[in-house]
Structure formats: structure tokens, C-alpha cells
Subunit: 239 residues, 4 copies
DNA sequence: GATGAATGAGGATTCATTCAT
DNA sequence: CATGAATGAATCCTCATTCAT
């Protein structure tokens, strides 16, 4: 297998490469599986496809994951980096206005999660959650809850500081989440949400949504009394 | 054939029962299929389940729909009532402020679509759209495009009348759509979006979101200058 | 059902037509079934097709034949006119040469059987005989045996009268049968036997085959000694 | 991997067993399929039966042939050895009389095709040809046409050399083909052609038929004048 | 470990047969 | 009698999973 006419370090190199390959295997499989599950759905994805995309043979997948469902679980588990502790700390130390905190929060989420393949997990959960209640519960516990809490803390800070109106917190959180979900679905569900052939710039969308949203959170009084709302103030234009 | 001791309308009733049954069958099957496709996904739903839920046997489904995929197409087609013409007219005649128009629009959508089983189609398209490009295209053409256009018209009216700021229309439309998608996913994807064990009141959520959103659309000037950023909270400063 | 404003004889006419129709039903079904069984094979023929071709509904077929297999049996039974008694008599009384008798026999077979839809039965038996041993046995008993016997009698007469050589009777009979089978397969199995796009004129073919065959039966001595066979007699041409 | 206490060729043998198995599989499947298709017909043959007869399980068949129809195509393709080039050459070099050439041709056909399982293909085409026009066309092109041409060349040689009368070539070719088809149907369609419980010796039948046929081809003058119509049998008179 | 041939349970689809009208 | 809607057994085909090499 390792013919002796090759120098020893070649052997080592080969062995090393193989080993690295071997250790990288599960990760490559998980990446392939995530992509395919998100793209085609769990049932419609064949194990052989996963193997092929990861560059191994059918049997090898079962060497690392005992079943298709376990592969799915691993995919979800693997792609849920429990970074909420870190993020919470980051936001606790945030010095700027809460408006900026929220905006920062959403943009950071996009860069660190939304823009990565990990965001597929959310679409996956939307599509398949009902078929895998325990995975869904895990996701709920590991992602939904901490995520909502994080946003809620930000909004609470804004209210506490008098920057925001005392809006219904749950609803406000959902508003932020809806914005994120929209971005995810835009990315992973074709034009299911976008105007035909429209390319959405996530940063611009987030900025735009956050702007409207923050104005909504900051403004006081009934909507009807808003300065820009009156016909006699038609010139009201953003800066 | 028609023994005289039985009243004629009894026969008619009997004769009609079978006939009415036959005419009702496709609808019952479509309802069952929609529910199951939304709940479990297209591939994970067995034709026999559809049949069972509609109270018939396996073979009967194929009496009305030549294949599973055709059943899906029929489900989508059936549940996309092209009511946009009517809605457009309704909004053209709308007398109140555009704020009210938008709020009315969202609430009406919920009552007429979101709250009905038809809303499942959207989740279905999110989940399966990529696997059925032609159905997705149909949905895009029949629902997404007209829907976006409708919302865009409302927003445009607000801007034209000086009620709203001249925001980026596409992004604003997406904001409204995101709100609706969130409601749909809350309904059809378990707690995939909501706080654990949270029950969302759609009307309240829409009211709340619309309120924030409309304030955001109406307010003028940079966010930092918003009146609600009260003087007693000087900490709110931009970086 | 029979409105009284119609003259009585109209009713009678209708009733009569219906009755005739009713009595004709089984025959029409058998014809339709024979055609389809021959064309597509037994298994590949759907009962509904048979019904449709006979102009009745699916259920009606089962009113006349309890099952598909019984329909097949009836088709075979119906199309085997046991005319061999009559034919035997005809040949017993035949006055001409045995050569003519054989030729007459083959041509008559073509006109009375080969050219009719009844000839399909033979192709049917070739194709499906193994799947229905009892039907095959029936066919063997009712058609093959009497048919072979008939031909054998003719050939025997030729030998007895010194018109033919004393050839092996079985083999000679098979030669005649082969000619008939060839015609049947040409008719019912597309170009499975014929040159591409070739139209075979059965009468001409029978005449030609009978001619060769009869010369072969009549000629004496070893083949090598045949007058036309020698190079010095190249001009040997038919009359 | 290769423990030294076992002789190397043992490993090789083992390794080869699986491999040889794999390479033999398609052939075994094709053999099983041919037998069953011929015996029971295409539609009446279940894939599982094919698998069972080949000693494998249901799914394995689909490992080698993507569908039942493709299996049929492969069966036909596999069993049509395009040996006509070789045969044509053989006959071109044939030194004896054309009578001998024709006889040789028919006997060789029996030994090389008729007596082998490949002959089942013809029965298959007779039975199923109409349901598979493209396969039938392939068969027509690869077998019927070259076969007819081959026979025609032999007959033409006989006529050119003055050994045969100038008969209608097409009809004469069909006579030879009919003889072969008869043998095939005798073999593959039970007693559909033979006298009850009759065992046909193909060589004897071919010899007998060829003898009659060749006499018929060689003899000159009208049938009625044939020498064997001996004077002591004056009754043999044309109409 | 890695491979891919083999398996067989599972699901879509067909169609002979039944039966209420 | 005639109809055609309904049934469900039978069959093709897929694919997760196993296992010999």
C-alpha cells in the first residue's frame, strides 16, 4: 500500500493529508447535507446525493451518521453556534444609542449568520419543523428563544432609556424577526418573496427597514398627528 | 323505476346525494391535500393519507387527479383566487387616509387569506417552490406580483398625497410582505418564529406592526432628531 | 320514460331497436375484445377499452362476462366456427385434381378465415397460449387437430391417387400450416415477417407458395436430377 | 490487508468472485428476462420474477436496467447478434450447388439461432411488437431486413445460375421465412402449430421442407405436366 | 476505514371488479 | 339493464440501509 521506494516524509504527507481529509469528512458531509436539505427538502434529498456532493461514496455517509434523520439532527446541531452569550456581552457593552444597537445587531446577524450557509437552517426548520418535533424543539430552545431574548433586551434598553416608546415588546421583537426571516426566505426560497427577478441587497434592506422601524419606535403621539402626515407638510423628505 | 309510493323528491334527493358527493369530491380532496402538503411537505405526504383524510380510498384520488404532482398543481391553482382586481378597485375607492388604507389592507388580507387554509399555499411555496419551478412561477405571477403591486400602489398613494415620506418603495413593500409572511409561518410552521408557547393574535400583531410602520413612514427628519427621543435622555447620540 | 305523446309503434320501434341492440351487445363486445386482445395482448388490454370500443360503459362488460378471462374464453370460443365438418364434406366431393384441391383449400381458408377478424385468434393463441393452457387445449382440439387432419386428408388423397410423391405427411402438413401462419402473422404482427413497407397480397402469395409446394410434391427423383437444375438447361422458365 | 499466510491467489479468487458476479449479473438478468418475456409476455412478467429467476432481489434488477422497458430493449439488443456480415461472406464463398446452399443456410440458422434462446426474440416480437414500435423497428432493421436479403441472395444465385426457375423472389423468400417462423412458434408457443403431443425434429422438418421447396424451385413447366403425375393417375386434370 | 453491490420496505399508480343509483 | 364512481390488490420503481470485499 505504501511502496517503500517513496521517501518517508512522503508517506507522512500522504498519511497526514488522508488524516486531515478523514477528520474533515464529517464537516464536508454536514455542509453538503445542509445545502441539499435546504434546497430540496429532507425527504427529497437522497443520501447518495449528499455523499456525491461531499465527494465520498454512499456507504461512507453511514460511517459517520447512523441514519438520515441523525444526519439531519447533526446538521442542525452543527450549524447552531450558540453565540448568544458572546452577542449578549457585546450588546451589554455597546456604547452608542439603542437605535444604533438595534441596527448593529441586525447587520451583524446578517454578516455572521444570514449571509452564511447556516441561515439555511431556518428555512429548513420552517419547511420540516413539523416533521421533526424534537429537532424543532431543540432549535426553538437554542436559537429562537435566545434570539428573541437578545432583541427584546435591546428594545427594552431603548425603552428604559426613553429612546423608544413603550411599545408591546413581543410584537416589536417579532417585527425584527420578520425582517430577518424575510431575508432568509429571499435567499433560500427563490423568488417566493421578492418581485420577479429582483435582487435584494440585504444591507440596504436592513438599513431601510431599521430606519422605518426605529422612526416608528421613537415617534410619539397618535399616528394621525405625525408632522409629516399632514397635507400641509407635503415637502417632508428624509435627510 | 320510480315506484309511486315514494315521493318523487326522495328519489331526487338520493340521486343527488351521489351526484353532490361526486361534485364535492375534488374539493374535499384538494382541502385534504392542501392541509397535508402544508403540514408534512409534498414528498412526505402519501397519496393514501390524502385519500384517508378525504374519507375515500387510495384509488379514488387518481380518479380526480392523474398524479401527485397534478394534485399539487390543482391545490395551488384552486387556492389562488385571483381577487386582486377586486382588491385594487376597493383600494382605489378607499376614502380615508392612506395610513388607514394600509392598515385596512393588511387586516383584510388576514381575514380573507391569512386566516384561511389558503394561506398554507405560501408556506408550501416557501418549502417546495424550488422543486416545482413551474408551479413557483405560476404562484409568482398570480400572487407575488399582483400582491406587491397592490401594496406598492397604496404606498405610492401615501407618498403622492404627502402622507408618507418618499421612502424606497421596494423596501417598504417588502416590509409589509415580511409582516404577512411572519404571520403565515407562525401559523403553519409551529413555533418556528414565535416565542415558546406563545399565541400570536394576528389582528393585534398587524395593528402593532402597522402602527410602528406607519409612524416610520410618516416621520420626517433624521431618526436621531425624533421628538420621542426626549431631552431628558441625552445619552442617545449618534457615534 | 316512454312519453305517451309518441305513437305506439314508435315505442315499439324503440323497444325493438333497444332489444336488438341488447342482443347484439355480446357480439359487439366479443368483436371489440378480439381486436384489442390481438392488437395489444391480453394483459395490456383494459376492460374499459373493450367497453369503449363496443360503445358501452365499463360495468356493462361484466354484465355479459363475469371476468376478463371468461371474456377471453368466450372470444376464442365464439371465433372458432367448427366448420370442419362442412369443409371435409366439400373436399370429399371435390372433383378436380388434388393439386387444385389443395390450392382451393388454402384460398378458401384465406377467404373464410384468414381474411376475417377470426384469424386474430391464431395470433392470440401464439402470444397468450402459454398463459391459458385450458384455452390453448380447447383451441388445439377444435382448430389445430381438425385443421391438420383436413390438410392431411387432402395430401393423402394426392398420394393415394399417385398425384403426389409419398412424402412425410406430418411435415407436408406443417408446410401448408406454416404458409397460413405466415399470412396470419403478416396481418396481425406488423412487419414482423415482411420486408419493410411491403404489402403482401395473400392470394398471390398462396398461389405462389402452392405452386412451388405442389411442384415439390409432384416431382420425382432426387433434387439434383431435376431437369431445371442442370446448367445446360438455363432457360427453364415457368409457363 | 493481504495477510501473508494466505496464498495470494485465494484473495484474488475471492475478490474476483464478487467482481465476476457483478459482471455476470446483467447477462443473467437478460437471460432470465428473455425466457420470461417469451414465456409469459412482457406485461405479464413481473420484474420480481425476473429477479427471482436470476437469483437476486427485486431492487437489483433496477441496478442494471433503469426500467422494465429498458430491460426489454436490452434483451432484444443483446440477442440480436449482427452476424449477417459473416453469414453473407460464408455464402459468397459457398462452393456447392445453390440447393445445397439454401439447405445449409436453413440448417445453420437453426443450429445457430433457432435452437438457441435467441429464437425467443422472434416470438417476442410477434407477440409484443405492436406495443413497442421502436423496438420492432430496430428488430425489423437488424434482423428482418438482413435476413430477407440473405435468403434473397441465395435464391438469386440459384436463378442466375439456371438452377432455379425465375420465381417471384419476395414470395419465395417468404416461403423460407415461413418455415423458420413455424419452427420458432413450435418451440415457443406450445402446440399452437403442431399436432397434439407431437415432437417436431427441426432438422428433419427443415430437410423435408427444403426438399419439397427445392423441387418446386427447380421443376419446369406447368404443375399439371410434372412427371410424377403418373399416367396411371389420369384423374389429375386441371379445371 | 471506504466502497458500492445488494436488499427490501415503502409509496405512486393501474385496473379488474363491485355496487349504489 | 346500464352506468360510472369507488375500491384495493397488484405491480413498478425508489432509496435508506447493510455488508462483503
Amino acid at each position: 500500500m505504501f511502496p517503500s521506494h517513496l521517501p518517508a516524509d512522503t508517506h507522512q504527507a500522504l498519511a497526514h493529508k488522508r488524516e486531515r481529509r478523514k477528520e474533515a469528512r464529517p464537516g464536508e458531509l454536514l455542509d453538503a447535507a445542509l445545502d441539499l436539505f435546504v434546497e430540496k427538502g429532507f425527504v427529497a434529498t437522497r443520501m447518495e446525493e449528499v455523499a456525491a456532493r461531499a465527494g465520498v461514496s454512499k456507504g461512507t455517509v453511514f460511517l459517520y451518521f447512523p441514519s438520515k434523520e441523525e444526519l439531519l439532527k447533526a446538521v442542525v446541531r452543527e450549524n447552531i453556534a450558540g453565540r448568544f452569550v458572546e452577542w449578549n456581552a457585546e450588546l451589554l457593552n455597546f456604547q452608542g444609542s439603542t437605535s444604533e444597537a438595534l441596527k448593529y445587531c441586525m447587520l451583524a446577524w446578517w454578516d455572521r449568520v444570514g449571509a452564511t450557509r447556516a441561515s439555511g437552517i431556518s428555512k429548513l426548520m420552517v419547511s420540516e419543523g413539523r416533521n421533526f418535533p424534537d429537532i424543532a424543539a431543540f432549535y426553538q430552545h437554542e436559537v429562537i428563544e435566545p434570539g428573541h431574548l437578545l432583541i427584546r433586551r435591546v428594545l427594552q434598553r431603548g425603552i428604559d432609556r426613553g429612546e423608544f416608546r413603550a411599545v408591546d415588546l413581543d410584537h416589536a421583537v417579532y417585527g425584527v424577526v420578520a425582517c430577518m426571516m424575510f431575508l432568509i426566505l429571499s435567499k433560500h426560497s427563490m423568488g417566493m418573496c421578492l418581485k420577479q427577478d429582483m435582487n435584494l441587497d440585504p444591507h440596504a434592506y436592513i438599513a431601510s427597514q431599521a430606519d422605518i422601524f426605529l422612526r416608528g419606535l421613537c415617534s410619539a403621539g397618535p399616528v394621525a398627528d405625525m408632522p409629516a402626515c399632514s397635507p400641509q407638510n407635503p415637502g417632508a423628505t428624509p435627510a
